[in-house]
C-alpha cells in the first residue's frame, strides 16, 4: 500500500518533470535556432512515420528502364540510383531506418552510460575506479576502428550496429554522468535525503538524476547527430545495413563511383544526412544556451 502510493507519487513527480520539460521545449521553440532544429527533426519523423503512404515507389523495386536514364524527371523527382530504384522513395524509407537505428542506439547508450556513471560517481571507491578505467580503455580507441572491429566481429545487421554504437558511446556518457553526480552528491539536499534514511537507489533516481537532465540532454542531441554520421560512415565502409535496406549512408557509397556523371545519386542522401545532423546540433546548442530553471 505504502509502496504503491509512493510509487504513484514518484511517477507523478516524473510526470510533472516531463510536463515541465515539454514547457521548456515550448519555451525554446520561440528561439529561432531551436525552432529550426526541432522542425527539421519533426519533418523527418513525419516522413518516417508516413513512409508507406507518401513514398511514390517501392524503395527496393528495380526498374531497368529507369536505370538507363537515372537523372531527375517528372516521374522520378530525385531521379534513380544505378539499379534504377527511385531515389525519393529510398530517401523516404531511409528516414525510417535512421529513425530506428539512431534513437535505439543512442537511447541504449544513455541507459547503459547513466546506469554505470551515476553509481560510480555516487559511491566512489573501487567501483568508480573499475568503471572509469574500463571507460578510459574504450575511449582510448578511435571510435571508427572500434566500430570496424565490432561490426566485422559481429557481422553487419541492425542489432549489431546498435550494439556497436552503444558500446562505443556508453563510456563517454558514463563519464559525463559520473562528473555531474560527483558535484551533485556534495549538495546539502543529498545529505538531507541521507538523514531521512533514503535508499541509495532513491537518491540516485529522484534526487540526482532530475538535476543531471540538462547537460545529459545536450549531450544526447549531439550524440544523436554523430550517430547519424556514424551510421552513414559505416554504410560507406560497407559495414552498414545489408542491402537492399534503404540506408542513407549506403546510398552514398553505392553511387560514389558515378559522382562525376550522376551527382544527384550521392547529393540527395548527403543532404538528408546533413540536415538531420545540423538539426541535432542546433537543438543541442539552443538547449545549452537556455539558462533553464
Amino acid at each position: 500500500m505504502t509502496l504503491s502510493s509512493s510509487t504513484y507519487r514518484e511517477t507523478l513527480s516524473w510526470a510533472t518533470a516531463g510536463s515541465r520539460l515539454l514547457l521548456r521545449v515550448a519555451a525554446i521553440s520561440r528561439n529561432p535556432t531551436a525552432f529550426a532544429g526541432l522542425s527539421v527533426l519533426v519533418f523527418w519523423a513525419t516522413v518516417a512515420v508516413l513512409a508507406p503512404l507518401i513514398s511514390p515507389y517501392d524503395p527496393t523495386a528495380i526498374d531497368f528502364s529507369a536505370a538507363a536514364d537515372p537523372m531527375p524527371s517528372w516521374s522520378h523527382w530525385l531521379g534513380n540510383d544505378s539499379s534504377g530504384r527511385d531515389l525519393l522513395s529510398r530517401i523516404i524509407w531511409g528516414a525510417r531506418t535512421t529513425y530506428t537505428v539512431v534513437p535505439l542506439a543512442v537511447g541504449s547508450a544513455f541507459i547503459l552510460g547513466i546506469a554505470l556513471g551515476v553509481p560510480a560517481g555516487y559511491f566512489g571507491g573501487w567501483a568508480d575506479t573499475f568503471i572509469s578505467r574500463v571507460s578510459d580503455v574504450i575511449l582510448a580507441f578511435p571510435v571508427l576502428i572500434l566500430y570496424i572491429i565490432l561490426i566485422t566481429a559481429l557481422g553487419p545487421s541492425l542489432i549489431n550496429i546498435i550494439v556497436a554504437v552503444t558500446l562505443s558511446y556508453a563510456p563517454g556518457v558514463s563519464r559525463l554522468a559520473r562528473g555531474i553526480t560527483l558535484s551533485l552528491r556534495e549538495q546539502d539536499y543529498i545529505a538531507a535525503a541521507q538523514l531521512r534514511g533514503e535508499s541509495s537507489l532513491y537518491i540516485m533516481l529522484v534526487e540526482i538524476l532530475p538535476n543531471a537532465r540538462g547537460p545529459l540532454l545536450v549531450d544526447l542531441c549531439l550524440r544523436a547527430g554523430y550517430t547519424v554520421i556514424m551510421v552513414g560512415t559505416l554504410g560507406f565502409l560497407g559495414l552498414g545495413l545489408p542491402p537492399p535496406t534503404p540506408d542513407w549512408g549506403g546510398m552514398v557509397v553505392e553511387s560514389a563511383h558515378f559522382l562525376s556523371t550522376y551527382w544527384h545519386m550521392s547529393l540527395f542522401p548527403c543532404v538528408a544526412i546533413s540536415s538531420v545532423v545540423i538539426a541535432c546540433n542546433l537543438l543541442a546548442d539552443s538547449l545549452r544556451r537556455d539558462p533553464g530553471r
Binding site: 505504502t2 502510493s5 509512493s6 513527480s13 510533472t16 518533470a17 549538495q187 546539502d188 539536499y189 545529505a191 538531507a192 541521507q194 538523514l195 531521512r196 534514511g197 533514503e198 541509495s200 534526487e207 532530475p210 538535476n211 537532465r213 530553471r293
Partner: protein
C-alpha cells in the same frame, strides 16, 4: 568647493535593460568624498550598492545603462571617458577590492609577479624597483615574511592573506580612491576585524579616499567617518558615523542597526529586531517612499502619496529621505521577549574522546606528503535535552566536522558518540535505525543547495513527513505540510513553488520546516544564517528560537558569529584546531572571557567595550606545535617552554565551566580583554 572634492557624484541614475524594459536600479544618487575621507555605503543586497561602485570605475554590465547624472573624479567626468581614458583611470586613480580574494588573484602566477605587474602597469619603473615596492607594500599590509610569500601561489595563502595581497595590489598603483566591495564577507570574524583595522590604518597613512561597501552596519561604523544608507537604489540617510549610530533618523537605518545582537544586553535572551518584508525588485519599487511597505511609521495617504521624496538636510551635516523625520524617533521593531528558558534536562548526546583525522594522499607516490589533518582531536562534550548548545570557532576549527559525525554524515576515526543510548560515532545515517534518524535532523548552511531544485517545496516537505513522521495517509501528510509551512511563516501556496522561485531566506525557512517534519528531539544547525543578509539573519534566528521554544527541541548551533552565539545560547563550547578550548554557560564563558582565544573572538565582534587582547595580530602558523597548546602560536599570553611543550590542563572552574589553559583563573581574569568587562559585569 567642488574643486577640492576627490569624488563628486551628482544625481547618478543607472538602469538595467531586461527584455525590452528599462528597470532603474540606482536613482538620483549623489555623493561627495573629500581626499582622505572614509565613506561607508550600506544596505541589504539588491539595493544598488555594488552597481554604484562599478559605475565609479566606468564599468557597467552589458545590459546596464547610465540614464543620468555625472561622476567627477579629481575633476574628470568618468562618464565621458573613452576606453583608453578608462584604462588609465582604473587601477590608477581608482582601485577596487572585491569580495572574493581568491578569485581576484590569478592562480597560475605567483603573488609577487602579480604585485609587480600591478606596479608596472601604472608607474614606469624597472623590475627591481617594482619588486622593492611590492615587498614594501606587503609589509605595509602586515603580511608576515614578505620575501617568502612573494614566490607563493594564491592557493598557498589563507583567505585573510589573499585579501591582504589584493589590497596591496590595489595600493601599489597609489590610487587616490580605494573602493572596497564587501571585502571581508568571506572571512572569519577575527580575520575580518584585522583586515578592517588594516584598511582604516592604510587610509590614514596613504591619505586615500575610501569608499567601503558592506551590508554590515557595525563593521562600517568601525572605520568610516561618514555613512550613507541605501535602499532600493537611493540614499535614504547620510550622516557622520557617530551621529548615525547614536540617533538614526530613517526607520530603515534604525531597523538595520537593530538586526544585530547588541553587546550590552548580554544575558537578555530576546528575539532580534527584524525588518519585515524584503527589498523591492528593480521596476517594482512602490510610488512614494520605497520603504513604506516595510515601515512601522507608515502613514497612509502621506508616505505613499509624494511622487518624489527629496533627501532633506537635517543639520549636523546629515540628511534623510523621510517625510516624517521631524515627527518620529525611529526605533527598531522591538520583538516580545522569548519565553523563559527551561532548565536543561538529562544529557542526550555524550561525546567522548572523539578524534577525526583526514588522511592525506599522494598522487602516485610523488610530491610532498602533507601531514594528517586532525579535524577533531580528543573532543569530549555533552548535550543536554532542551538546551541550545553553540559550538563556536573559526573555519578549520572542526566545528562542522563534529556536527557531521554526530548527525551521521561522517565517521569518527576513534572515540565515541552516544546519542539516545545508541553508539553512533562510526555509524553513518544510512545504517542508523529509523527511530534514531527521526530524533536527529539538520538545518544546512547554504540556501542555494539545501533544497533540491527539481522538486517543489510541497514535495520536499511531504517526503520528509512521509519518511520521518508517523502519519502516512496522503491527507494527513498534506495537513502536516500545511502546518509546517505556517510554522515557518510561509504562505500555503508556496507548496507549488520551486526553490529557484524563492529568496535565500525563504529557502532557509523551507529547510527548517523539513528538519522539523518528524518532530525531532535534536536539531543540528550548521551556520544556518551565515550566508544571509543581516536583516534576514535576524528573522531566521527568531524563527529558530520560536520553533525551539514551541517544541522543546535540543539545539546544536554551529557558528562563527560570537555575538549571535552569545545572544541565543544556553551553553557554549569554543573550538580551536579540533580541540575544546573552553566550555560553559554563556555567562561563564563570555562575561568576562577567561581563555585568551575566547577573549580574542569576542574582541573581533567589534564591540568597543572589549579592548583587543595583547598581540592580536599574531597569525596562525600552518602547523600547531606538537604536544603543546593548539593556540600557542597566536596567544598573547604564551609562556615559551611551557605552552609549546605541554598540553594545557583542563581546569574546572565550576560544574559546568572548564577551560584548557596553563594560566590560573585569577591571572586570566586580570588580562585586558577580561578586565574591563568584569568591571562592567560585576
Amino acid at each position: 568647493m567642488s574643486e577640492q572634492m576627490l569624488l563628486s557624484v551628482q544625481d547618478l541614475s543607472i538602469a538595467y535593460r531586461k527584455g525590452g524594459a528599462t528597470l532603474p536600479v540606482v536613482r538620483d544618487f549623489s555623493l561627495r568624498l573629500a581626499p582622505g575621507e572614509t565613506y561607508g555605503l550600506v544596505g541589504e543586497s539588491g539595493c544598488g550598492k555594488s552597481t554604484v561602485a562599478y559605475a565609479l570605475l566606468g564599468y557597467l554590465s552589458e545590459n546596464g545603462v547610465l540614464t543620468g547624472g555625472t561622476i567627477r573624479l579629481n575633476g574628470v567626468d568618468v562618464t565621458t571617458l573613452d576606453d583608453a581614458g578608462l584604462r588609465g583611470l582604473r587601477g590608477g586613480d581608482v582601485a577596487m577590492v572585491y569580495q572574493e580574494p581568491v578569485s581576484a588573484l590569478n592562480p597560475v602566477l605567483t603573488v609577487g609577479r602579480q604585485l609587480v605587474e600591478a606596479r608596472q602597469a601604472h608607474r614606469t619603473c624597472s623590475a627591481a624597483e617594482a619588486r622593492m615596492a611590492a615587498i614594501a607594500m606587503m609589509q605595509a599590509v602586515r603580511l608576515p615574511d614578505p620575501n617568502t610569500l612573494f614566490d607563493r601561489y594564491p592557493h598557498e595563502l589563507s583567505g585573510g592573506q589573499a585579501q591582504r595581497i589584493v589590497i596591496a595590489m590595489a595600493l601599489l598603483a597609489e590610487p587616490k580612491l580605494l573602493v572596497l566591495d564587501e571585502p571581508t564577507t568571506g572571512l572569519d570574524a577575527t580575520v575580518e576585524a584585522e583586515v578592517v583595522d588594516l584598511i582604516a590604518d592604510l587610509g590614514r597613512r596613504f591619505g586615500m579616499g575610501i569608499l567601503y561597501i558592506s551590508h554590515n552596519l557595525a563593521l562600517v561604523g568601525r572605520i568610516c567617518e561618514r555613512v550613507g544608507v541605501m535602499y532600493a537604489g537611493r540614499l535614504v540617510e547620510e550622516a557622520p558615523a557617530g551621529q548615525l549610530f547614536s540617533s538614526p533618523r530613517h526607520p530603515y537605518t534604525a531597523g538595520l542597526l537593530g538586526c544585530r545582537p547588541s553587546a550590552d544586553d548580554r544575558s537578555a535572551r530576546r528575539r532580534l529586531a527584524t525588518i519585515p518584508g524584503q527589498v523591492p525588485l528593480p521596476g517594482q519599487v512602490p510610488p512614494g517612499c520605497a520603504f513604506a511597505p516595510r515601515c512601522q511609521y507608515f502613514a497612509a495617504g502621506r508616505c505613499d502619496r509624494l511622487p518624489d521624496l527629496p533627501l532633506e538636510p537635517i543639520g549636523g551635516n546629515a540628511s534623510v529621505r523621510c517625510l516624517r523625520h521631524a515627527e518620529i524617533v525611529p526605533e527598531p521593531i522591538i520583538p516580545q521577549p522569548a519565553a523563559e528558558r527551561p532548565a536543561p534536562g538529562m544529557p542526550v548526546i555524550e561525546v567522548n574522546n572523539l578524534v577525526k583525522n583526514y588522511a592525506s594522499r599522494r598522487m602516485l607516490g610523488f610530491g610532498r606528503r602533507a601531514p594528517e589533518f586532525n579535524a577533531n582531536d580528543d573532543i569530549s562534550l555533552s548535550v543536554r535535552g532542551g538546551e541550545i548548545l553553540s559550538i563556536v570557532g573559526e573555519s578549520g576549527s572542526g566545528k562542522s566536522t563534529l556536527a557531521k559525525i554526530a548527525i551521521g554524515l561522517e565517521e569518527a576515526t576513534s572515540g565515541k558518540i552516544v546519542a539516545f543510548e545508541h553508539e553512533v560515532g562510526s555509524v553513518r545515517a544510512g545504517r542508523r535505525p529509523r527511530p534514531l534518524l527521526r530524533k536527529m535532523q539538520m538545518v544546512f548552511q547554504n540556501p542555494d543547495s539545501t533544497l533540491n531544485p527539481a522538486h517543489t517545496v510541497g514535495a520536499i516537505i511531504a517526503r520528509a513527513v512521509r519518511r520521518l513522521g508517523d502519519r502516512q495517509s496522503s491527507e494527513a501528510i498534506r495537513h502536516r505540510v500545511d502546518i509546517l509551512l505556517a510554522a515557518v511563516a510561509l504562505p500555503a501556496e508556496f507548496r507549488h513553488k520551486y526553490p529557484h522561485e524563492l529568496s535565500g531566506g525563504q529557502r532557509q525557512r523551507v529547510g527548517i520546516a523539513r528538519a522539523f517534519a518528524g518532530n525531532p528531539e535534536i536539531v543540528v544547525a550548521d551556520e544556518p544564517v551565515s550566508a544571509l543578509d543581516v536583516s534576514i539573519q535576524a528573522s531566521i534566528v527568531n524563527l529558530l528560537l520560536d520553533m525551539q521554544a514551541c517544541s522543546g527541541t535540543t539545539f546544536l548551533f554551529i557558528s562563527h558569529d560570537v555575538a549571535l552565539v552569545r545572544h541565543i545560547s544556553d551553553r557554549v563550547a569554543v573550538l580551536y584546531r579540533g580541540q575544546v578550548m573552553e566550555a560553559g554557560t554563556v555567562e561563564e564563558v563570555f562575561s568576562p572571557p577567561f581563555h585568551p582565544y575566547t577573549a580574542r573572538l569576542l574582541a573581533a565582534t567589534g564591540h568597543v567595550s572589549v579592548p583587543e587582547p595583547a598581540n592580536a595580530e599574531l597569525e596562525a602558523t600552518a602547523q600547531p606545535p606538537v604536544g603543546g597548546c593548539r593556540y600557542f602560536d597566536r596567544c598573547g599570553l604564551r609562556v615559551e617552554g611551557l605552552c609549546d611543550r605541554m598540553a594545557p590542563p583542563r581546569s574546572q572552574r565550576s560544574e559546568s565551566h572548564f577551560l584548557a589553559c596553563h594560566h590560573e583563573f585569577s591571572f586570566l581574569a586580570g588580562q585586558p580583554g577580561a578586565n574591563s568587562n568584569k568591571v562592567q559585569g560585576d
